[in-house]
């Protein structure tokens, strides 16, 4: 257990490093897409490598989110039951968003 804080810190650090280029890429991409119509956006986003990149971004982003939210809850929630409810809530949120993105990516690919 004494090692868990350090491991979380390292995981948070490496996930954030990975997220910097991904954030920059997706900010520019969304900016580019904002001037296009639906057909153009579908052709632009419908490639397999782009959709895989979306999934990678989602997984690393959600992982980073989970670690960050855990840290906040560990600092501000003292009650053990509330703490566990919050952790479960975060896990459900993680799975829900990942599911939503996966379905969307599949739909865009089949489009």
């Amino acid at each position: 257990m004494s090692n868990s804080g350090r491991k979380k810190w390292i995981a948070q650090k490496y996930s954030s490093i990975a997220l910097i280029p991904l954030i920059a890429y997706f900010l520019l991409k969304i900016l580019q897409l904002s001037s296009m119509n639906y057909e153009q956006i579908i052709t632009e986003t419908g490639t397999i490598w782009f959709l895989v990149l979306v999934l990678i971004f989602t997984i690393i982003g959600l992982f980073h989110m989970r670690l960050g939210l855990h840290e906040i809850i560990e600092d501000y929630v003292q009650n053990e039951i509330m703490k566990n409810i919050s952790f479960t809530g975060i896990n459900i949120f993680f799975i829900a968003i990942l599911g939503l993105v996966s379905v969307s990516v599949l739909l865009i690919f089949l489009n």
Partner: protein, 133 residues
């Protein structure tokens, strides 16, 4: 000893940092903002994934979603969200610098702090200016 530890007084100990009596400083404000923007970004994933879902579902859904975020409230949320992305990313880079031992002097912490605030605002303005063009 155990009873004292488990007593009401210790269970309801005030949490550090004692926000009610804290003097506002650039260092603490940015630390709090980093957490707040982190939570905001987490919640915003709902908007982003619904946008992606609408894109996959078809043009009708996509246009409806665009109609919603083109409203005044929608625009305000999206601009705020853009700032949250910029701020959290830039301040995150500042945190990474600290992790590797850079910029830990008080003066550096203050300078980089203000740099993060200003550049996040400039970035948000540039992004929305370009999107309007």
């Amino acid at each position: 000893m155990y009873i004292i530890y488990k007593s009401e007084f210790f269970m309801n100990n005030p949490l550090s940092p004692h926000l009610q009596i804290y003097r506002w400083q650039i260092t603490s404000v940015l630390s709090i903002l980093h957490r707040i923007t982190g939570v905001v970004l987490s919640l915003g994933t709902i908007i982003l994934s619904v946008w992606l879902l609408c894109l996959g579902l078809g043009e009708t859904y996509f246009n409806f979603f665009n109609h919603l975020i083109s409203s005044f409230i929608g625009r305000t949320i999206m601009i705020g969200y853009t700032w949250a992305v910029c701020f959290h990313t830039l301040n995150g880079i500042r945190h990474l610098g600290w992790d590797y031992g850079y910029g830990l002097e008080l003066i550096a912490v203050k300078i980089t702090g203000w740099t993060v605030i200003l550049s996040s605002l400039v970035m948000t303005t540039i992004i929305w200016f370009l999107s309007v063009l």
